[in-house]
């Protein structure tokens, strides 16, 4: 027994165990969200979706997963095998690594580093490399198209996204995500979307800019995770399925998993930056380590829901319109907000 405890206290082992928590979370979350998305989509569209497997089809995602596991793993003959196999893992690694700095609760954060959000932006950029790799390695013109589109799109939308993050970082004066969250503790009135935990005058001055930044970040995050109306990289009516056209079985499942994990990731960033992370909306009521995890997941999931809702309602933009929105609308607004926030914080 003591041996086991000693083994668990070994720093390397602790790290591995800590790292497993987000992985488990992602897996469970993906199963729930697949079910959730299908049901939401179905009810938006006057359908029922899964009804046969279990009560209202609740075990359907597990059945789907089993099906994907059993599928034949096809690698096209003329594909670049090494890159083709590597790509989905690279995409997943990029997403998974970003979860390291995510403050899930007041008591749990994978790695409480000071560069938190900066690291996150850097790590999630790895996804682009994976997508480009997938598109190129598939040796399919539609895949290549999808990969190039997604690279152009993600890189373009990172700029307003990062500018929005910069604005928020200027307000908090820290890049540590745990500190950011703690600064918004104390109830709904302290969340940054309403101006944060600042004196009243400053709060009122910050409020409009924070709202604009929130919208900018929300839009660019939707573009970064390739969801409608920005789902051009996999626009199935134009590009068949984009960069993952040639993927099947488990490799496709990993793309799928990474996409869903990414969806939660960007929602979580929105939550941490603007909606108080794991803090309870009622001050000290219903707060604590477990409750805070609950609030974090609940807030994250509501933005996931927003994404799903928009996906099944809106048509898709065209590629030039997409670029227009990023470069000519979001970026100037974000720049303006950053400058204004600088003035407010100095004063």
């Amino acid at each position: 027994m003591e041996n086991i405890l000693a083994f668990l206290n070994e720093p390397a082992v602790t790290m591995v165990l800590l790292a497993l928590i987000p992985l488990v979370f992602i897996l469970v979350y993906a199963l729930v969200t697949i079910y959730f998305e299908m049901k939401v989509a179905a009810h938006i569209q006057n359908r029922l979706a899964y009804m046969e497997t279990g009560w209202h089809g609740v075990i359907q995602p597990i059945a789907d997963m089993l099906k994907l596991l059993q599928k034949e793993d096809i690698i096209p003959t003329s594909a670049d095998k090494f890159l083709f196999i590597l790509a989905p893992y690279l995409v997943f690694i990029g997403t998974y690594a970003s979860f390291a700095v995510m403050p899930f609760s007041s008591g749990f954060i994978g790695s409480n580093i000071d560069l938190g959000i900066f690291y996150l932006v850097a790590a999630s950029s790895l996804v682009v490399v994976g997508l480009l790799m997938a598109g190129w390695a598939s040796n399919n013109k539609w895949s290549l198209f999808g990969a190039l589109r997604s690279a152009a799109q993600i890189v373009s939308y990172e700029i307003p996204g990062v500018l929005a993050i910069l604005g928020v970082v200027m307000v908090f004066g820290t890049m540590n995500m745990q500190t950011m969250t703690q600064m918004q503790d104390g109830g709904i009135q302290n969340w940054l979307i309403i101006g944060g935990n600042f004196p009243l005058g400053q709060k009122l001055a910050l409020f409009p800019f924070m709202f604009i930044l929130f919208i900018i970040y929300l839009l660019s995050s939707m573009a970064e995770v390739n969801r409608t109306p920005f789902d051009l990289p996999e626009a199935e009516s134009e590009l068949v399925q984009g960069y993952n056209t040639e993927y099947s079985g488990m490799k496709f499942a990993i793309f799928y998993l990474a996409e869903y994990a990414n969806l939660f990731l960007v929602s979580a960033i929105v939550v941490v930056m603007f909606f108080g992370g794991w803090t309870s909306p009622f001050g000290s009521f219903m707060s604590g380590t477990v409750w805070s995890a609950f609030w974090f997941v609940l807030k994250g999931m509501s933005f996931v829901f927003l994404n799903i809702w928009l996906r099944w309602t809106l048509p898709r933009l065209r590629v030039d319109q997409l670029m227009y929105v990023s470069w000519k609308v979001l970026t100037p607004f974000a720049l303006f907000c950053v400058i204004a926030i600088g003035f407010i914080m100095v004063i």
Binding site: A235, S237, L314, R316, L317
Partner: protein
């Protein structure tokens, strides 16, 4: 239109790097070619340089089969299978041509029922056209809303003749059955319910800001070009030509009813763009509803099989009959010799003719626009390839 010349750059080592046009094969198994159309698309980045359609993947030798029937009546099930989303209209077109050849006068009740069926079929077909067009634009939900209502029309058809897709209902000189007793009531019910969906989808799709941005000023088909390419139906009316066979070359009793011909006006962009073609379809459904309501209200009594000939053996000659199908002018050219089988039947399929314009209107558009253009032409490959 954006001009992007092919560029060549000489590097310091003397290698010549240049951009190249890419040829991609869109179809025959591509989600938005609405069947098995194959487009050879030459792309410069995202810009379409050239489009070469390749047809025939669904060619079923329809015209050859018709020459080997044992009677004219046997052709009708074949005609059904041409445009499988608007089978009723196909039967109607063939029957109009055959009756012209045989000089048969049909009772008034038959005309009325044919009009009701044709207009219901037009609504059903437009529902698919707009719904799938929405999918092409990335909006999935309107499609299912429309399918729900199409289902109601199919139920009406099923009630009438037992079939949901391929009916063999309209016969030369009459109909296979009279309409069942509940039909009138159910059709009225459908007309009332359907008006709600039409408004709903207008909000969700046709006047959606993103949808307008995607479709306005895209794939503009000018008036002259439309006539020169003999486009017809919503394609032609979307380009601002006020022409509808139901009014201008009346073939049944359409001129007895009050309704309007919908013409594209370029409300969101230029006349003849993709948005105009789509909205013409949307508004035509209202007009169809008007016709159905009037026809149902004044449905005369009579025997629907009174004029059905027992044996069909026309005088040698030829006749071309045409009707306004959901996709446009659907014509049948029948050549008869002194025999019970047709000597030659040529189908003038509107989708075939409308599709031929694609090369002229999609040059310089983006790849996503090409998808919009295909969607707005509303092709059914069963009819294009026959």
């Amino acid at each position: 239109m954006i001009e992007t010349p092919i560029q060549a750059i000489k590097t310091s080592t003397g290698r010549i790097l240049r951009t190249e046009e890419m040829v991609v094969n869109m179809g025959p198994q591509h989600p938005s070619t609405h069947g098995v159309l194959r487009l050879e698309v030459v792309l410069d980045g995202e810009i379409v340089v050239d489009v070469i359609p390749h047809l025939g993947y669904l060619h079923r030798c329809f015209e050859k089969h018709c020459e080997h029937m044992t009677s004219y009546q046997q052709v009708i099930p074949y005609v059904d299978r041409m445009d499988y989303v608007a089978a009723m209209t196909n039967e109607h077109a063939f029957v109009v041509a055959a009756e012209k050849l045989l000089k048969i006068e049909v009772p008034e009740r038959v005309h009325y029922i044919r009009i009701i069926m044709a207009e219901l079929q037009r609504i059903a077909s437009h529902l698919i056209a707009i719904g799938t067009f929405g999918i092409d634009m990335g909006a999935f939900t309107p499609f299912l809303y429309y399918f729900r209502d199409r289902e109601k029309i199919l139920e009406l058809f099923e009630m009438t003749c037992g079939a949901r897709l391929l009916y063999n209902y309209i016969w030369i000189g009459g109909l296979s059955h009279d309409i069942p007793p509940q039909f009138v009531e159910k059709t009225k019910e459908f007309c009332t319910d359907f008006k709600k969906t039409l408004k709903e989808v207008n909000d969700l799709l046709n006047y959606n800001e993103i949808f307008i941005k995607r479709t306005a000023n895209v794939g503009i088909l000018p008036k002259d070009l439309a006539i020169n390419y003999a486009c017809s139906g919503p394609m032609l009316r979307g380009s601002g030509v006020d022409f509808d066979l139901r009014r201008d070359d009346p073939y049944t009793l359409y001129n007895k009813f009050e309704w309007d011909v919908i013409v594209g006006k370029g409300e969101m962009g230029t006349v003849g763009d993709v948005w105009d073609r789509n909205i013409v379809r949307q508004r035509e459904m209202w007009e169809s509803l008007r016709i159905i309501e009037q026809a149902i209200a004044t449905l005369p009594e009579g025997d629907v099989q009174k004029a059905v000939p027992k044996r069909i053996r026309p005088v040698p000659g030829d006749a071309y009959g045409r009707v306004e199908g959901p996709r446009g002018e659907l014509g049948f050219y029948i050549v008869a010799e002194d025999s019970v089988t047709p000597y030659r039947i040529k189908a003038r399929a509107p989708a075939f003719v409308n599709l031929s314009v694609i090369n002229a209107i999609s040059k310089g558009a983006m790849l996503a626009d090409l998808v919009a253009i295909i969607g707005s032409i509303d092709i059914v490959l069963g009819e294009v390839d026959r």
